[in-house]
């Protein structure tokens, strides 16, 4: 399932955690930087595959030779340049998935127009967290648990295998809570490749190949994962 290679454009305090996390998850990473300072910083952290190029030069970007299945991640600190880079990469690699980091609502719009497949706003999640801290303490605690790597609570993708007992079963007819998990949503392949929330109220039929997104404690999710494989 993992993509073959991830190109991370830019190396700064904004993206250091991401780069390290991907590194520890044994993804193949190429860090693309435009100056020696970033190069040395990346090298100090132990990254080996670092390329220093002029990112405004299309020929040099082309020479990176990214395959269509590779992910391109634009996390350059200068937001203007990040938009320009996204546009350049989209022009050179139109089939690739481009994920970009934005620092404002207006930049998000521009990045989307420039061809980014997914744009993550640097402040959107945090600002919502502040709102939750101020108004919804239980929600804050719950979401913190969900995101914390130390906590047991998590979300997981579970694909319905061939010949599963869940094949052709209506969602309402299966009691997920009996397995101590909550079905949040799914990709109903009969309908689309889009993720659909269960709270939309649409009645879904489960089929093999559908991806369920469940919330629960890791132990229960593991048990359920094994259960549907039986």
């Amino acid at each position: 399932m993992h993509r073959t290679k991830i190109f991370i454009f830019g190396y700064s305090k904004r993206s250091i955690f991401l780069t390290k996390s991907l590194h520890t998850k044994e993804f193949r990473i190429t860090i693309v930087v435009s100056n020696q300072e970033e190069y040395q910083n990346a090298q100090k952290e132990g990254f080996m595959d670092i390329v220093v190029i002029d990112m405004t030069d299309d020929n040099l970007l082309y020479s990176l030779d990214a395959k269509p299945i590779d992910d391109l991640v634009c996390v350059v600190e200068d937001s203007h340049f990040n938009v320009f880079l996204t546009l350049s990469l989209h022009a050179i690699y139109p089939q690739n998935r481009i994920i970009a980091l934005s620092d404002s609502f207006h930049t998000t719009q521009k990045l989307k127009m420039a061809g980014a497949s997914k744009v993550i706003d640097l402040y959107q999640v945090s600002s919502n967290r502040i709102y939750n801290i101020l108004n919804k303490p239980v929600t804050t605690h719950f979401i913190d648990s969900l995101l914390s790597f130390e906590d047991d609570l998590s979300l997981r993708e579970i694909t319905i295998p061939d010949n599963s007992f869940l094949d052709k079963v209506m969602v309402d007819d299966f009691d997920f809570s009996a397995h101590k998990i909550i079905l949040i949503g799914m990709i109903d392949r009969r309908l689309s490749e889009q993720f659909l929330f269960i709270t939309s109220g649409i009645e879904h039929r489960l089929d093999r190949g559908d991806v369920l997104v469940c919330m629960g404690y890791n132990e229960d999710l593991d048990r359920f994962g094994k259960f549907i494989l039986e």
Partner: protein, 514 residues
């Protein structure tokens, strides 16, 4: 000796008596403390009383009034004014604290206790209060109640002046004018000089020829009426010399008026920002709870954009003027100041309001300093600070920050989900940004009593297109994720539900106790 010991005992008794202290503090707050939440009600009451009293006294000049109206003014209104005057006199300072201080000093130094010394300070302070303009006005405002002496009714004017105490706009107007004291005094002396010169000149030229000018007073009166451009016309020059003086004085008058106007306008334009900011602080201080947002950068803008439904009042403090201008343009309550300064935060109602500070500047150093400053002022101030990495988070915690937000980490988490688990990304994104079908909210059984006593399976969350994620019990028991269907909802439980916002709102309406 016995007398001195008795005095010291009484002083200590008062010092240690919580009821006495509480009562005195209450009256001090209601009379003197502009940040006290009930002061506005007292001020409004006093303003109404003053207006009613002025109304009665003015009406009385030409019309007879019912005796009960007179009684109301004499006994009730005047008694309240008198009581207020006495209370202000009482709360102005404490004799017992001065006596205790003198007692401690004399004991420490081994010298005899001198009662005269604290008494002297006490009476000197009281005298400075009595002779202050506002206290004099308060005293004179009581006098019109004495009906036998009609002349005392002129003191009704002091009741009008008494309004100054309760209306901040007039106070501010005087304060603004006070900043241009030098210019205004200069103009006043110039005015007096011109009036005097012109008055003497017209008196000398027209004493014989003008029948309307009998004395120097008439000449000075004419000069003042002319220079002010009022020109009643009761006295006018008759000789060519007098007319020349008139022309000169008219030109000077126009110049003077322009000058005075420009001085007042410039005083206001210089103080306008400060006045606006003071007003913002006064308004926010009236709330029982509010938020102070430090820094107006992208993070704050995003927070405000996402917090349209924020129920708490807030004010922004930003030290860069260009950002302040942007904030003002975007319609926010923003103050140009440095939130890391002690004086800036202490202007807020720290003693009575529940304050939350959001330290959201782009600099970790500033955010930590702001947090330390706030916590140094009061431990009750809740601080939420932004930090750039885990190391800074630790420092923030050491500085006493209650919650730390790490925008870089949060965004990196999202990037990680987008790359490694694209299906989950959308679920997580919607949950974290509280959007669309993944709006998470808390339903409190205290305000939705119809839920109390029901089993989870009886409520049928699915029919409301909601997911019950968990229940937080009112006691300190841990959060119950995915509660069993047999779980009975108790009073004080908080239900965590997920769904569309409208589904949650509808659910809350259904189960709300009417």
């Amino acid at each position: 000796m016995f007398f001195k010991n008795l005095i010291i005992k009484i002083a200590f008794y008062l010092y240690n008596n919580p009821n006495y202290k509480q009562v005195k503090k209450f009256f001090f707050n209601i009379l003197q403390n502009p940040d006290y939440k009930y002061k506005k009600y007292f001020d409004s009451f006093m303003i109404s009383l003053i207006l009613v009293s002025i109304g009665i006294l003015v009406y009385e000049v030409k019309h007879p009034v019912d005796p009960w109206v007179d009684d109301f003014d004499i006994y009730l209104v005047t008694s309240i004014f008198l009581l207020e005057y006495l209370l202000r006199f009482w709360v102005y300072n404490d004799l017992h604290t001065l006596i205790i201080r003198e007692h401690e000093e004399s004991t420490f130094l081994g010298r005899p206790f001198n009662l005269w010394y604290p008494m002297k300070i006490f009476f000197r302070e009281k005298w400075s209060h009595i002779t202050s303009p506002s206290a004099i006005i308060d005293l004179l405002a009581i006098l019109p109640a004495y009906r036998p002496l009609r002349v005392l009714r002129i003191f009704v004017l002091f009741r009008v002046f008494k309004l100054l105490r309760y209306t901040k706009s007039i106070h501010q107007f005087i304060e603004v004018l006070a900043t241009k004291r030098f210019e205004l005094y200069t103009l006043l002396f110039l005015l007096l000089f011109i009036v005097l010169t012109a008055g003497i000149a017209i008196y000398v030229f027209e004493d014989q020829s003008n029948p309307n000018i009998d004395s120097l007073f008439d000449a000075l009166y004419w000069a003042l009426v002319t220079i002010s451009t009022v020109g009643y016309g009761d006295i006018s020059p008759v000789s060519p010399e007098g007319r020349v003086v008139s022309m000169l004085i008219i030109i000077s008058g126009i110049a003077m008026i322009s000058f005075v106007t420009s001085v007042i306008v410039s005083a206001f334009s210089e103080k306008l920002t400060e006045l606006k900011e003071n007003r913002i602080i006064e308004e926010i201080n009236k709330n029982e709870a509010f938020i102070i947002i430090c820094g107006y950068g992208q993070m704050t803008r995003m927070f405000l954009k996402n917090s349209d439904l924020l129920r708490t009042e807030y004010v922004i403090i930003e030290k860069e003027i260009n950002r302040v201008e942007l904030g003002v343009k975007e319609g926010y309550n923003i103050i140009h100041d440095d939130a890391s300064k002690h004086d800036v935060i202490s202007r807020f109602n720290i003693a009575y309001a529940q304050i939350t500070i959001l330290a959201l500047t782009g600099s970790d150093v500033n955010n930590i300093y702001i947090s330390l400053n706030a916590k140094a002022l009061s431990r009750n101030i809740k601080v939420i600070a932004r930090a750039s990495n885990r190391n800074m988070e630790k420092k923030c915690k050491l500085a006493g920050v209650d919650h730390v937000v790490l925008p870089n980490m949060a965004a990196n988490h999202m990037l990680l989900f987008a790359i490694t688990q694209p299906t989950i990304y959308r679920a997580i994104y919607n949950i974290l940004t509280n959007q669309h079908l993944a709006h998470i909210d808390e339903v409190k059984s205290v305000t939705h009593l119809k839920l109390v006593g029901k089993r989870v399976d009886e409520i049928c969350f699915k029919s409301y297109k909601l997911l019950l994620l968990g229940i937080q019990a009112s006691n300190s028991s841990p959060f119950c994720f995915n509660p069993p269907s047999s779980r009975v909802i108790e009073e004080g439980d908080i239900l965590l539900v997920m769904g569309r916002k409208m589904s949650i709102d509808y659910f809350q309406t259904i189960f709300q106790e009417v």
